[in-house]
């Protein structure tokens, strides 16, 4: 379909794309096995007359004694009810099955693809009409309908192809429609309209290239379905008597006493052929699907990797003596986290980060995206994805080393000691449970003695009230909340078990400025009211300046600068901090030209040698490219990792 549109592109590009695709596909074991299985059969079908030991319908020489002979040298797979060689019939049967499957699927794919594309692209009434019709066709049992139709017409191969083809398009239409809808709603289609492109251009250049892969996967599955249907029809006695397909072979064998004679070969061989085709196509389809639409094969319940301690303290830790004196809740020492992937060097996502957090203190954790902020926070409670591993360091929470606890001991600290406010998108709350229910769940988990009656309800209402949500919203589901309210609900949930430390991971990103201000004010209030210690993760320096006591600036997984908030803004020593501040718009100086930091943060699996900021640093010199700077202590509460500050105070 529509392949004419691709002619306008340079040819070599498409070869390159195909080669690239093959390179990826080649690694998919399922897909390759499936392709091999199908390939073998296609070859058998094409060269059937050359391979088959006997002619396709040589019954003339058949004697009574030839019927249902078990496998022998003359007939490798035995003979059937008419004394024919089963191997030869099997080989010729391949042709029938593949022809019916391919042609019927072709009809289905054309109809389903076209209808799906029209419905998805046009939307509105057309879509409604087509999809309603599809739904009806989907609900009507297909096999009985096919049986009726074939029984009422002449059971010829052509009729079977037409009937199976005409009824097999429904899933394709649904799949293509939803993919078309998804592609159509993407911004690049809107952009193409903005450029002035018409519908034809948009369909051929933007919709089809993204629908095609799914259509290919679908086609593979439709072929397998058509092969199955044909053999079923033949087995039920509705096959073309002149074309001996596998289903027809089974029909004869089953109907003519193979069972009672015990001629298992006559029943097994054709069936294995069908399974071979269908399994091959299914594996191929699965393989294609996995390559075209890759999904992670791990999830949040995949067991994490064990903590290891490499005890390498080559860089100075960010801990100062006098900080020990305060009421320290959280003491992170030389924490390092790697992401481990098979066959690749580990990505050093966090390296040698140390900080402390006192009661009632608010620390800002700042850096561009991809600098390891979230990894650092998740590693504190060992909530890393399964590829993440703590490779060094300790996390002391009230003198207890969290890296040494087992999962059950850790589960007690989680939420009741340290809780997390996740980014307030819809996804951090379970969509099918009410907000109140999700809050009380945490209470029940951590305060087993808490009375489970009205007082539990009252506690939930109290928590919601604390964050400014009306009590009648308790029984509502997250999707009934606005974005700002969901963030508040998340905060209420984080406070449910009276934790001492709350980690807020970009809680205001993606919220409007006014809602953002509301949330910041709320967190600041709660800190004062409840004496919470808060770690506030953000890429927004302005937010940090407004509410934080101290700031840890991260770059490329390491501490760039760690100081109290006034020092960070007024006497920054690390060039990265300095540049970040210059890039931030300052309303008090509206005419000031903004500067940006050229380049991008390093990829954590391809870190530069020496200082990680060196490639973007305005003050870079030779040593930076060779030697990674240690964290220098510049004051009681001021650390920076830059060669330039070495020896200075």
């Amino acid at each position: 379909m529509q392949s004419s549109t691709k002619i306008t592109e340079p040819k070599n590009q498409w070869t390159a794309r195909l080669l690239e695709f093959w390179r990826v596909f080649n690694k998919n074991r399922m897909g390759v096995i499936g392709l091999g299985m199908i390939g073998t059969l296609v070859i058998i079908a094409i060269f059937a007359p050359l391979i088959a030991p006997y002619d396709s319908s040589s019954t003339e020489s058949a004697q009574i004694g030839d019927i249902y002979n078990p496998p022998s040298a003359a007939h490798l797979l035995g003979t059937d009810d008419a004394g024919q060689d089963i191997l030869s019939n099997f080989i010729f049967g391949t042709r029938v099955s593949l022809i019916v499957g391919t042609f019927a699927a072709f009809i289905s794919i054309i109809i389903g693809g076209t209808l799906g594309l029209i419905a998805g692209f046009n939307g509105g009434r057309t879509d409604n009409l087509i999809m309603r019709f599809t739904d009806i066709m989907l609900v009507i049992p297909d096999l009985p309908l096919i049986v009726v139709l074939v029984a009422l017409t002449k059971p010829s191969l052509l009729n079977i192809i037409i009937v199976v083809g005409l009824l097999g398009w429904t899933t394709t239409a649904r799949v293509v429609r939803s993919q078309t809808l998804a592609v159509k709603s993407r911004k690049f289609v809107l952009r193409a309209r903005g450029i002035g492109a018409g519908n034809r251009h948009i369909i051929s250049h933007h919709i089809l290239p993204l629908v095609m892969p799914i259509l290919v996967v679908q086609a593979v599955l439709v072929v397998s379905n058509a092969v199955l249907t044909e053999s079923t029809l033949a087995f039920l006695g509705l096959g073309d008597p002149s074309a001996l397909s596998w289903g027809q072979m089974l029909n004869y064998a089953f109907g003519r006493g193979a069972m009672s004679i015990g001629a298992w070969w006559a029943l097994a061989v054709p069936g294995i052929g069908i399974v071979w085709v269908v399994l091959g196509l299914t594996l191929l389809g699965q393989g294609l699907e996995q390559v075209l639409n890759p999904r992670l094969e791990t999830h949040h319940l995949t067991p994490g990797r064990p903590v290891v301690q490499n005890e390498r303290d080559e860089f100075g830790s960010g801990k100062s003596a006098d900080e020990k004196s305060g009421n320290i809740l959280l003491d992170v020492q030389n924490l390092s986290v790697n992401y481990v992937a098979d066959g690749r060097p580990p990505a050093r996502a966090v390296e040698n980060v140390s900080f402390t957090l006192k009661e009632g203190e608010l620390m800002g954790l700042v850096g561009e995206s991809g600098c390891g902020k979230t990894t650092l926070m998740l590693s504190l409670l060992r909530l890393l994805p399964s590829a993440g591993q703590i490779v060094n360091g300790k996390v002391f929470f009230k003198e207890k080393d969290l890296t040494a606890l087992n999962e059950e001991e850790l589960n007690i600290v989680r939420w009741s000691g340290i809780s997390i406010i996740f980014q307030g998108a819809m996804n951090a709350l379970n969509p099918v449970r009410t907000v109140g229910d999700q809050i009380s769940e945490a209470i029940i988990r951590h305060l087993p003695d808490f009375p489970r009656d009205k007082r539990l309800d009252e506690r939930v209402i109290e928590l919601l009230d604390l964050v400014g949500i009306a009590s009648d919203q308790k029984e509502n589901f997250p999707h009934q909340y606005s974005g700002g309210m969901r963030q508040r609900a998340m905060i209420a949930m984080a406070l449910a078990c009276n934790p001492q430390v709350v980690i807020a991971d970009e809680p205001t990103t993606a919220l409007d400025v006014m809602i953002q201000a509301q949330i910041l004010e709320l967190l600041d209030d709660l800190r004062k009211k409840l004496g919470l210690a808060i770690i506030f993760v953000t890429h927004d320096l302005g937010v940090v300046a407004e509410i934080c006591d101290k700031v840890l600036v991260m770059y490329g997984g390491v501490t760039a600068e760690y100081a109290d908030v006034d020092t960070v803004y007024n006497e920054p020593r690390h060039p990265y901090t300095q540049e970040l501040i210059k890039a931030f718009p300052d309303l008090t100086k509206p005419k000031k030209k903004l500067t940006s930091i050229p380049g991008y943060p390093p990829r954590l699996d391809a870190l530069p040698a020496g200082c990680r900021f060196a490639p973007r640093c305005p003050a870079v010199f030779d040593r930076c490219h060779i030697e990674q700077p240690p964290l220098h202590k510049l004051g009681d509460m001021h650390f920076a990792s830059c060669h330039l500050v070495e020896g200075s105070k």
Binding site: P144, H300, N476, Q480
Partner: protein
């Protein structure tokens, strides 16, 4: 208070309650209306397939040499074969298809609909018994087989799927996926044949629903007899459909377990079991319910094959026999009954989904 696995919307007390309740009634009514329309469509389709395609059953029936003259006359009147097929509705129909200027109530189509409403589906050519009577008992046998098979395959499929997803990338997972893919590729009727072969070695009953003469047994023994007969067909059914449910449950649960709210649950200190039970299972089941609803039509295809192999006296076997005997009234009736049953079952599954997913009620 314990954690509610299925939050019931009638517990809601806020403003949204009334709105969602209203919405729910509207959705319910819309779905029922839609099911009725689909049934209407099937009835019309059924009429035209059998009238338009070459093997016109009524006429073929009249030509059946086994019928006596009076019987033919009776059939002609009952089906109105002397009447025009439909009213052409002249104003809508410029090519004047069909006969015009006739009373629409005096056409074959109207008679067909009227007969249907009276439960009149014609007379079997083969047994000369009314189709409705023959199929009535068979419908229950099919429902018994499909019901047992569905319950078993859903249950086992969900359990396997949950284990496979939970233990993703382990050997348990791989074994579950590969065996499901293989089972999914088996032609239903062929698996039936293989199991028949295998079952014959153990002396299991191979055909029918009951041993001849079993109706004289005591009730308990009768049931035991039916259960023995059901064993192989149900096993076949379960293996075929369990595979699909395993794969769907696995991929659906994999998606859910990668969601942020699972990380939230983990951060809350919930145990793996609690997370699976309270946060993942219901969310992952929702897509499965949709698939079950969509698949019902397909399921019936499996039943036709299984009943044919095991001579299980259901609608599927009726279709199989009717095809062999060219007994069109039975074929027409069986198809109609199957289609309508599937539409009802689909409606049921659809309504379950509406009930289970709180997001549907306030769309």
């Amino acid at each position: 208070m314990g954690v509610e696995l299925f939050p019931r919307p009638h517990n809601l007390k806020s403003f949204t309650t009334s709105r969602s309740a209203l919405n729910r009634t509207r959705i319910l009514l819309r779905k029922i209306a839609w099911a009725l329309f689909t049934i209407l469509f099937v009835i019309v389709l059924n009429f035209f397939i059998f009238r338009v395609l070459p093997g016109d059953p009524a006429r073929a029936g009249i030509r059946d040499p086994r019928l006596k003259a009076e019987a033919i006359e009776m059939l002609r009147v009952r089906f109105g074969l002397d009447k025009p097929v439909i009213n052409c509705f002249e104003s809508l129909n410029p090519v004047k298809l069909g006969s015009c200027n006739v009373n629409p109530l005096d056409t074959q189509f109207f008679i067909y609909v009227r007969n249907l409403l009276q439960g009149e589906l014609g007379i079997s050519y083969h047994t000369n018994r009314p189709v409705a009577e023959v199929l009535g008992e068979r419908l229950w046998n099919t429902i018994l087989l499909i019901g047992a098979g569905q319950i078993l395959s859903i249950f086992i499929g969900v359990v396997f799927g949950v284990f496979a997803a939970w233990k993703a990338r382990t050997s348990i997972d791989r074994a579950a996926v590969i065996s499901s893919l293989v089972a999914w590729s088996l032609p239903t009727f062929w698996l039936g044949i293989i199991l028949l072969f295998w079952g014959s070695k153990f002396g299991l009953p191979l055909a029918g629903k009951a041993t001849p003469g079993a109706s004289t047994y005591p009730l308990l023994q009768q049931w035991g007899d039916i259960a023995r007969h059901m064993f192989l067909p149900t096993l076949t059914y379960t293996i075929i459909f369990m595979a699909e449910y395993t794969l769907i449950m696995r991929s659906s649960l994999m998606d859910v377990l990668s969601e942020d709210y699972i990380l939230t649950a983990k951060a809350k200190g919930l145990s793996t079991f609690q997370i699976l039970k309270d946060h993942a299972l219901k969310n992952a089941m929702l897509p499965l319910v949709t698939v079950i609803a969509i698949n019902l039509g397909f399921t019936v295809g499996g039943a036709v094959q299984i009943e044919s192999v095991f001579s299980w006296p259901g609608l599927g076997l009726a279709i199989f026999e009717a095809v062999a005997r060219r007994d069109f009234p039975i074929l027409q009736g069986a198809f109609l009954l199957l289609a309508i049953s599937v539409i009802f079952a689909n409606l049921l599954a659809d309504l379950t989904y509406t009930y289970l997913d709180p997001r549907v009620q306030t769309e």
